[in-house]
């Protein structure tokens, strides 16, 4: 009891502080243990020296890293024009699927077919089919560029996913919001535009952030049909130096972008959970 008064803490606070210290110590010990195990045991494996030379080669990394960064601007470019197109097309598909008027029935069918098809086919297949198929029609330059058709493949695939997320967002707005807006004499369109959509979009920002991160990575799939982006460039250096380190370099560059982005998406998600509660 004397101790309580001296620390100026209630019994509960004292107990909690003790618990915090305990978990901190346990976490530190177990982390150190795991790191030591890796540092000691991995180099003891028979193939370690070879792996170290061909995957973690400092000289090769230093030589190729700046060029990999250059190639990464191609990824950024493809990403930069695909992302807005995906947002617009995805939203349009979502709205088409919720269209109520009978005149728009074909649009609804189209929306459903679109999402079914492009979510059902592996991205790489879509990239191949569109990226090789359409230029195969014998289009004149610049219309046979794999940049255009490869990007289109990404746009179509990702729009299908993004549309479904938007639709979930629209469904997440409580029906009473619709009732209230209709009761004011607004039309169905105005209700959607002014009341439902702003709330729906806000609700799905974290999920859409995750789609952006996935897109950023999938841009690399275009390397299979031509564009020399970072993955392809790394492949070139791999052959040149007969060493896999450029791939590790490429992975590092991706992580530099995606880790902050995923952390931010997680933060948004956590904040939203707190607000809902």
């Amino acid at each position: 009891m004397k101790n309580d008064k001296a620390a100026g803490m209630t019994r509960r606070e004292q107990y909690e502080q003790q618990q915090r210290r305990r978990s901190l110590i346990i976490a530190a010990i177990s982390t150190i243990f795991v790191i030591v195990a890796i540092v000691i045991f991995v180099p003891m494996t028979p193939g370690w020296e070879k792996v170290q030379k061909s995957f973690f080669n400092g000289t090769v990394l230093a030589k190729t890293f700046p060029k990999l960064l250059d190639a990464f601007t191609v990824n950024i470019m493809i990403f930069a024009w695909s992302a807005p197109a995906i947002a617009v097309l995805g939203l349009m598909i979502a709205l088409a699927r919720d269209a109520k008027s009978p005149a728009l029935f074909p649009l609804r069918i189209f929306g459903a077919a679109f999402t079914d098809i492009f979510r059902g086919v592996p991205v790489i297949l879509t990239v191949y089919l569109i990226g090789f198929g359409i230029p195969g029609l014998g289009l004149p330059r610049p219309w046979n560029s794999p940049f255009i058709w490869g990007s289109l493949a990404l746009i179509l695939t990702y729009s299908a996913y993004v549309a479904e997320i938007f639709r979930a967002g629209i469904d997440s707005v409580h029906p009473s919001q619709r009732s209230a807006a209709l009761s004011l004499g607004l039309s169905e369109r105005q209700v959607m535009r002014d009341v439902i959509l702003p709330q729906a979009v806000r609700n799905v920002v974290p999920s859409q952030m995750n789609m952006l991160i996935a897109l950023q990575k999938d841009v690399s799939l275009l390397s299979f049909i031509g564009p020399v982006e970072i993955f392809r460039q790394a492949g070139v250096y791999k052959s040149l130096f007969a060493n896999f380190t450029p791939y590790v370099g490429a992975a590092i560059i991706f992580l530099i972008v995606t880790i902050p982005a995923t952390r931010y998406a997680d933060y948004l998600m956590a904040r939203q959970m707190r607000e809902r509660r």
């Binding site: 009761s183 004011l184 004499g185 039309s187 806000r202």
Partner: protein, 243 residues
């Protein structure tokens, strides 16, 4: 001619009949209170009047005009009939002021400056001027509900429907909302309320309708219903409600 007139209105949800032949007359400037247990059909009836729910059979007349004709564009009707809900239903992404100006901005021919000053006057009249630019989640329940009333009034409706608007409020916040209703009554607004506030209904209502199982069992003045109920069901309900 009655302001609002319901003729044998029938509303079903699947197999259950929620409004089973309701007749109701509301005169210009009258305050009519619908009372009855939860599930009696009060809220559904209000939603039918505002055309939020299509009715299976019967007619609803506003100023002698049949507004329940299937296929009629409900927008014009709804802009003449305002509605306030139990759960406020303010738009959370807009300030109180934006909530109120949205529908007039979309439907009125008045200039934006004119609308703005009209709505500012409304907020002042209901003692909400200081709260005008707050978002709904920054307001108390009572304030939110008053903003919802202002939002409905901004469309200059001829009839107002109130669906248990104090049921979601803390007891100490009920008064400020009921005061708004009295203020509206004084200004001659035609109002239909679904309510559990028996004391308020007793003091303020021009007519009280007791609903049970989708029917109006008994109707009449507050004195008649509260002091001399004729039907056994009305007596039983009031005995429980006034305890």
């Amino acid at each position: 001619m009655q302001k609002l007139e319901l003729h044998s209105v029938i509303k079903k949800f699947g197999d259950s009949t929620v409004c089973n032949g309701i007749n109701l007359n509301v005169e210009q400037g009258q305050m009519v209170c619908l009372i009855g247990a939860s599930g009696a059909g009060k809220s559904t009836l209000l939603r039918c009047i505002n055309l939020l729910e299509p009715i299976e059979d019967g007619e609803i007349f506003l100023d002698g005009e049949d507004i329940s004709l299937p296929g009629l564009n409900p927008q014009n009707v709804r802009s003449k009939i305002g509605m306030v809900f139990q759960s406020f239903n303010l738009f959370p992404h807009m300030t109180a002021f934006e909530n109120a100006i949205l529908a007039p901005k979309r439907t009125s021919k008045l200039s934006k400056t004119q609308l703005k000053s009209e709505i500012e006057i409304l907020f002042e009249r209901f003692d909400l001027a200081e709260r005008m630019h707050n978002y709904p989640d920054q307001l108390s329940g009572g304030q939110q509900q008053r903003v919802a009333i202002v939002r409905a009034l901004a469309m200059k409706p001829e009839v107002m429907l109130f669906d248990e608007i104090t049921s979601a409020l803390d007891p100490q916040l009920v008064g400020e909302v009921l005061d708004v209703l009295l203020q509206l009554k004084k200004q001659g607004m035609t109002m239909v309320l679904a309510t559990h506030e028996m004391q308020f209904a007793r003091q303020a209502a021009d007519k009280i309708c007791f609903l049970k199982d989708g029917k109006i069992v008994e109707e009449g003045s507050a004195t008649k219903i509260f002091n001399h109920p004729k039907q056994a069901e009305t007596k039983a309900f009031l005995a429980r409600a006034l305890k």
